[in-house]
């Protein structure tokens, strides 16, 4: 057991928490928070796991930097979409769309 392994296990927990948030919460901004938390968990696994045996490994660190930038891009785009959606429809969640759901029986 090293500190790196501890952090990657914490990453696994964060993934679980974030997944729960994404599936369970309905408010779109909360879903976005959950996505970011799950992302942080994935990044922790990505860096922590390879560093368990050797020392610091710059390759996953660089990958995580790339990942963080992609995540902020997606988050910022989602915020723009959510605010526009809220402006047009007054809703903050995707529920309440039963009428336009699959035409067939649920």
């Amino acid at each position: 057991m090293t500190a790196s392994l501890l952090y990657s296990l914490a990453g696994a927990m964060l993934c679980g928490i974030g997944l729960f948030g994404l599936l369970w919460l309905s408010h779109l901004l909360r879903k976005l928070l959950a996505f970011n938390i799950m992302g942080s968990g994935v990044f922790l696994v990505m860096v922590g796991l390879p560093q368990h045996q050797g020392g610091p490994d710059p390759v996953p660190q660089a990958l995580v930097l790339t990942g963080i930038v992609v995540a902020i891009a997606a988050t910022a785009l989602a915020v723009v979409l959510i605010r526009r959606y809220y402006h047009l429809s007054g809703m903050t969640s995707l529920e309440g769309e039963r009428a336009s759901r699959e035409g067939g029986p649920e």
Binding site: L6, L29, I37, I68, V69, V79
Partner: protein
């Protein structure tokens, strides 16, 4: 030993803030807790010998994402409030 204590505390704090950010009733508070989560993540990256990510996380994860979300929360809240007030006024 002290290091282990620090790491353990940090991991517990990370998990607690993550849960708190998702379960908080007030959206504004949820985002503030999320910013705290970002700061803790930055510390965790320092502990993982990844200063580059720590810098990026502090600037992006805690800073920019936080401001972006806070701005959105205040917008989403204020409009609903205004709509409610208008509705009250009409009644």
């Amino acid at each position: 030993m002290v290091e282990w204590l620090l790491d353990g505390l940090l991991v517990v704090a990370l998990v607690v803030t993550a849960v708190a950010a998702l379960c908080s009733r007030d959206l504004f508070r949820a985002v503030v807790v999320f910013i705290a989560f970002g700061v803790l993540m930055a510390v965790a990256w320092v502990r993982l010998h990844a200063p580059d990510i720590a810098l990026a996380e502090a600037a992006i994860g805690a800073g920019l994402t936080g401001v972006l979300l806070l701005d959105a929360v205040s917008h989403l809240g204020s409009k609903r409030l205004r709509a409610q007030q208008q509705g009250d006024g009409r009644q």
